[in-house]
């Protein structure tokens, strides 16, 4: 492998995607990078809840009237969502769009009078019907709306990885906003024991250093995005517990999920799976028995202002380092 790298980036899904390719032929790598990023923007265009002409908007508007035919990749994505929804006991649910809107994360923000019934009566994944033979989706009732924000980046990375493999790329890393990452092969010039791509979970000295080599990783943190509550007394986190309709309340600072594959015939969507499960873990606060044992979970327990401890479970070797012992933190007190 050559030590040269080619970097390229694009804006999609409300963040910045970046691709790093290793190799000796920049003339070959540049169009491959562009091809892969155009795949990312393709899925942005298809899956955005905020684009009126996206296919997701089309589904949300029409699927309660008639079954909507799906392409195989999209059907695979939604089947995975249904699967994680079931395995997580409803802690992950892609039909949270009405809840997100009720809490003020999506414009237009409803009034308090409109929001309360929307929260209590949100339909949920049980109202989504996926027909495997016909490859269609149908909503059993009106008011159902998919929000794929918790899996779209991972899915775009899975699709990116499949294209990279098709081009025979042996060394690559692609990330979406640094919170969802897929790595192919090892990193050019890496000094990690396994030659993998070094990834820091969290800022500063507390960061847990992972190395990814042929794997995927997704990171979720409830404090990543917040809105002010209606009474102005609190900040509501963007990860909603679909079971209660309220923001996740578990004492989780962050959750990361890693997979040791980048997609194959058995599981084409490891990055998507990691992303769905990282959201579910923030809601659940701990790793459930039902979580696939092919996935490694890394939970940081505690809040922004208290001491945190890492909980690493699953088949983490060889692609995850031993966790750094946590250092005690001094509570910083109220923030101004």
């Amino acid at each position: 492998m050559g030590d040269m790298v080619h970097r390229a980036a694009c804006h999609a899904m409300g963040t910045r995607f970046e691709i790093v390719l290793g190799g000796n032929d920049p003339a070959r790598l540049a169009p491959i990078a562009e091809h892969v990023l155009s795949e990312v923007t393709h899925w942005h265009d298809r899956l955005s809840l905020f684009k009126r002409d996206s296919f997701l908007s089309y589904i949300n508007e029409r699927a309660s009237e008639a079954p909507i035919p799906l392409e195989p990749d999209l059907f695979g994505l939604l089947s995975l969502c249904a699967n994680v929804h079931e395995q997580s006991g409803g802690a992950f649910d892609p039909t949270v769009a009405p809840l997100m809107r009720a809490h003020g994360f999506h414009a237009p923000t409803p009034s308090a009078r409109e929001a309360a019934p929307a929260i209590s009566a949100a339909p949920g994944m049980g109202e989504v019907e996926l027909d495997k033979d016909a490859r269609t989706i149908r909503f059993r009732s009106r008011g159902v709306a998919l929000d794929l924000g918790s899996v779209a980046k991972g899915f775009a990375l899975d699709m990116a990885a499949s294209h990279l493999r098709a081009f025979g790329v042996e060394h690559a890393l692609v990330h979406g906003g640094t919170s969802s990452i897929v790595a192919i092969g090892n990193a050019p010039g890496s000094d990690a024991p396994d030659g993998g791509w070094r990834i820091a979970l969290g800022p500063g000295e507390d960061a847990l250093i992972l190395t990814l080599c042929d794997g995927a990783l997704s990171f979720s943190a409830p404090h990543g995005r917040t809105v002010e509550s209606r009474d102005g007394d609190a900040r509501l986190t963007h990860i909603i517990d679909p079971r209660s309709g309220l923001p996740a309340a578990a004492d989780v600072f962050s959750a990361a999920v890693a997979s040791a594959i980048t997609g194959n015939a058995v599981d084409p969507w490891p990055s998507t799976r990691c992303e769905a499960w990282s959201t579910a873990l923030v809601v659940l606060g701990k790793r459930p028995e039902s979580m696939p044992d092919t996935l490694t979970s890394v939970l940081a327990i505690g809040s922004r202002d208290t001491a945190r401890r890492w909980m690493v479970e699953g088949p983490h070797r060889p692609y995850i380092s031993e966790p750094t012992p946590p250092k005690p933190r001094v509570p910083s007190g109220p923030r101004c």
Binding site: A27, E34, H42, R52, P72, P108
Partner: protein, 418 residues
């Protein structure tokens, strides 16, 4: 100065202004055809797509929305693309040769030509001669002779032949054109358009033997450059809005960013002149994506900006006020405020959801395909004729020649005798 106050069929200026006098009436009066769901017929239209690259993927995605369409066949000379396409479409038959598809696929009554531009002519003419309804992506072809051959075959065809110039099917563009043709901008003083993107334009190939076939845009023997591939769609907007054609074009171009041995300029500029002195400045680059793709028509009363999925009107302070504007949705652009031109505003306004109506509900390609399907299903004439495809493409080919030679080229649209 040429005025834009040309009559719109079925709506003269006086009627238009009267209809806009009452608040919201313009919106009520101008709601365009919005969905093609009503064009469904009992028998599904069997479609064959020739060229299964990335653009065909968008075509397949949008065709899936039409209940009266079935993709019956796919054709591509690159097997990996064909197989990827067949995986997406249930029940379609794959072909490597379009002639074989035309001969054997008896369930195909309509053909969509989405291959590289320089291959359009042979495929499109063969499809038309086989009695198929034919949709030809724009630009129509890479030479004027090929464009003429397509237009002549279309004249001889008894089927629907639709040139894929998307603006003419776009509800927002149709709405904005109604404003333009009804004198909302008053005297047209100048026009501007750009197509900016950050792109290498070199296609990644998994197999080196496919490089020449897939990187045709960078092949000087067949490429018509940025003016052709991007400009033809935009030039057609002005052809359609003005109802006339430019008489000369001058241009410049160079490789500013992608200095990898290519000779096709990655940054170009062309100036089109009309017989009354009006000017259209068009530029395109692969080195910067700022503001993407848009067209602007500047008049003495207002400017109209068209950006494919949205459009705005920017009024001068001294322009007369029309009642409906008070209720219109507006967007701020630095120091200017644009009135958003919303295609299905009537319905949205009645639901109190006008702000949610900014932008198209479907990608522009959906509406172009919808017009094609609707014409077949309901035995209507094509919305965009091959003749218009010929004229827009010929002007863009001439513009590319002006860019490559750095000189002024006379545009004699009247000489394009079909």
């Amino acid at each position: 100065m040429h005025s834009t106050s040309e009559p719109v069929p079925g709506l003269d200026r006086r009627d238009f202004l009267l209809s806009t006098g009452a608040a919201g009436a313009a919106i009520l009066a101008l709601t365009p055809e919005w969905s093609f769901a009503s064009s469904a017929r009992a028998e599904k239209i069997g479609v064959g797509i020739v060229g299964v690259g990335r653009h065909a993927r968008a075509i397949m995605d949008e065709l899936a929305k039409f209940e009266n369409v079935r993709i019956a066949a796919l054709c591509d000379v690159v097997d990996s693309r064909l197989q990827a396409g067949l995986r997406r479409v249930q029940g379609a038959t794959g072909y490597a040769d379009y002639k074989e598809m035309l001969a054997k696929a008896t369930d195909v009554s309509a053909v969509i030509v989405a291959t590289p531009t320089h291959t359009h002519k042979d495929i499109a003419v063969a499809a038309m001669e086989s009695g198929k309804h034919t949709f030809i992506e724009a630009p129509l072809a890479h030479t004027i002779d090929d464009c003429l051959a397509i237009a002549r075959a279309a004249r001889s065809s008894t089927r629907v032949v639709h040139a894929g110039l998307y603006a003419r099917s776009n509800p927002i563009y149709k709405l904005a054109r109604t404003f333009f043709r009804s004198d909302s901008v008053r005297d047209l003083v100048m026009m501007r358009a750009q197509s900016n993107r950050k792109s290498n334009w070199r296609v990644a190939v998994a197999d080196a033997k496919d490089d020449k076939a897939l990187n045709w845009r960078l092949d000087p023997e067949v490429s018509i450059g940025l003016p052709g591939e991007f400009g033809s769609h935009q030039i057609d907007v002005f052809n359609w809005y003005l109802g006339r054609y430019p008489v000369s074009v001058s241009g410049t171009g160079s490789v500013r960013l992608h200095k990898d041995g290519r000779t096709i300029p990655d940054t170009t500029h062309a100036t089109f002149l009309f017989d009354d002195g009006a000017r259209l400045d068009w530029s395109g680059t692969l080195a910067n994506s700022y503001e993407g793709q848009y067209e602007v028509l500047y008049g003495s009363n207002a400017a109209i900006k068209l950006a494919w999925t949205a459009a705005w009107m920017f009024k001068e302070a001294d322009a007369p006020t029309q009642g409906w504007e008070v209720y219109a949705n507006r967007q701020r652009f630095h120091t200017d405020e644009g009135i958003t031109l919303i295609a299905d505003a009537t319905k949205l306004a009645s639901q109190g959801k006008l702000k949610e109506g900014v932008g198209l509900p479907n990608p522009p390609v959906y509406y172009a395909l919808g017009d094609f399907v609707d014409a077949i299903a309901n035995a209507k004439p094509a919305v965009v004729t091959a003749d218009e495809g010929l004229r827009a493409t010929a002007i863009s080919i001439w513009a590319n020649q002006a860019v490559l030679k750095g000189e002024t080229v006379k545009l004699d649209v009247e000489s394009l005798k079909v």
